[in-house]
Structure formats: C-alpha cells, structure tokens
Amino acid sequence: MNALHDPQLLKGVLSPVLLRLVAERESYGYELVQRLHDLGLTGVADGTVYPALARLEREGRVVARLVSSRAGPARKYYRPTPTGYDALLAGASGWRALAGIVTPLFDRPLPDRPARPREED
C-alpha cells in the first residue's frame, strides 16, 4: 500500500484538501472526487469524500446550494465559509510545518539494514 492508497495518511489531510479545492472552485461531491483523482489522490474512495463534505458543512466550514443539472437531479455545490477559509489556512500551515519536520527525516540516507540492538553499556 503506497501513501496514495493509505486511508490513515489521507484521512488527516482530506478536510484541508477539500477546503482548498472548493475555495478554488465551487464543486459538487462527485466533481470533487474527480478533482482529487486528477491531483493523483486516486486512493480516496468516493465514500470517504461525501461524509467528509457533510462534516465540513455541519462544522460550518462550507455552505452548499442546489444547482439544477441537465444530466439529472439538482447537484449540491459547496463553497467555503469565512470559518472554512480560516480552517484552510490553519490546515495548510500545519501541513507545511509537519512536512518541514518529517521530509528532512525521510530524506536522510537510510542504512542498508535495520539497526542492530544496542549492546548494554
């Protein structure tokens, strides 16, 4: 399982990512799934995104409106609220700070083998 398919890794960052996407362009649920896939996050299940949107809406971070569609029933389009913008900024800042610490760690040369147990002093 690589990082793009690890639900635990994606879970923590999904809300800020969704906020970022709807901040760029008002979108409905399946459209957001497609945009995530276009980003390369192909491991995100559709069923993860829809409740995440419901949670953001319940927390007042996005608002939704119904827009009629020629392809079928009206679609629910989401856009961020001012609270959502603040959460997006905080989420992006937190992610950068975490990546700033973790990335150099993983960039260090990795030993060929796992370290041996330390001998008692």
Partner: protein, 184 residues
C-alpha cells in the same frame, strides 16, 4: 465520456441507496433525505462516467459509508433513541389493535344477526375476555339497541401497559441509552 443510464444502473443505484437508508435510519427523516438525495446525484454522475457497478464499488463499502454519516451527526456518542418515533409507534399499534377489536365485535354482531335475524336479548362476546373483558350487545327483534364493554381492569391495565412499553421501547430504540450502545 458520459453514458446514458440504463434501468439496471438505476436499479443498482437505488438498491445501494436503500441499503444506506436502512443503516442511517437513526438520523432524522429530513437529514436522511438530504444525504440520500445527494448520494443518488453523485452516484448517477459517477455511473455516467464509469458504470453503476464501479460507481457503487468506489463508495468503499456501504456499511462504512453509513457509519461515517452517523459519526458526522453523533460523533463518538453513538446514535440516540428516537423518543418521538416511539410515541408515534405506540399510537399506531394501539390504533391498529383498536381497529381489529372493532372489526371483531362488528363481525360478532353480524354473526348473531346471521344466525337469528330477529335476535332479542343480551349476547356477550368473549374473544378478548382474558385481556380486556367481555363486550355485551343488547338486541331487540334483530336490532342492536346498545352495547357495553366490561373491563377486567387489572389485566387490561397490565396488558395495555406492557404492550405500550414494549412498542415504545422498540420504536424508540431505547437500548441506545445503554452505555455499550452509545459507544458503538
């Protein structure tokens, strides 16, 4: 590429919707409708792109999807009992039983008159006697003059109370008050 949905696609989508509906029944009807309507829209859009079988599969498990929606609503407190639904169930069940009892007594009257079109005197209907009491019908030359219910009060109170409590508990899903259920 956008494909037109076939009846099989619609059937598959609706089947998934019904399954989710059952699993999120703890939510208010309005909230259920909102969620299912949006889910249907998204599934249709996805099905037009990749076919309904794959679109449903990409939800990643309907049980998990439903649980996620419940988590959004209730957090880790778990679903709550639905007291109002319990009360409604009590009225519905008691109403149905009342209608059945009325139909039974009406059948008894018809039976008496079918046996003797000129029936006179008092006839007692004992079908509900063990629980409710007997019902007496007074006829005069084939005409129903009056009727009355003789309640066996203690049994009636126990039966009505037990039935009402059981229906209320089931309808309201009262077991959700139990700690082990609240943290499921």
């Amino acid at each position: 590429m956008t494909n037109t949905l076939t009846w099989l696609d619609h059937l598959r989508i609706e089947f998934a919707i019904v399954r989710v509906d059952v699993m999120i029944s703890a939510l208010s009807l309005e909230r259920q409708e909102e969620i299912l309507s949006e889910l249907r829209t998204n599934l249709r859009a996805a099905s037009q792109q990749m076919g309904s079988a794959r679109a449903v599969r990409r939800l990643g498990g309907l049980r998990r999807l439903a649980r996620s929606y419940l988590d959004v609503e209730y957090g880790d407190r778990g679903p709550r009992p639905r007291w109002l639904i319990g009360i409604i169930w009590v009225f519905v069940v008691e109403g149905v039983l009342l209608a059945v009892a009325f139909a039974g007594s009406q059948g008894f009257v018809d039976g008496v008159l079918a046996t003797d079109p000129h029936a006179s005197g008092t006839y007692s209907w004992h079908a509900l006697a063990p629980v409710v009491g007997s019902e007496d019908f007074v006829f005069s030359d084939g005409r129903l003059d009056s009727f009355g219910l003789t309640l066996s009060a203690p049994m009636f109170a126990v039966a009505a109370g037990a039935l009402g409590a059981a229906v209320f508990a089931i309808g309201a899903r009262a077991w959700r008050c139990l700690p082990q259920w609240r943290h499921r």
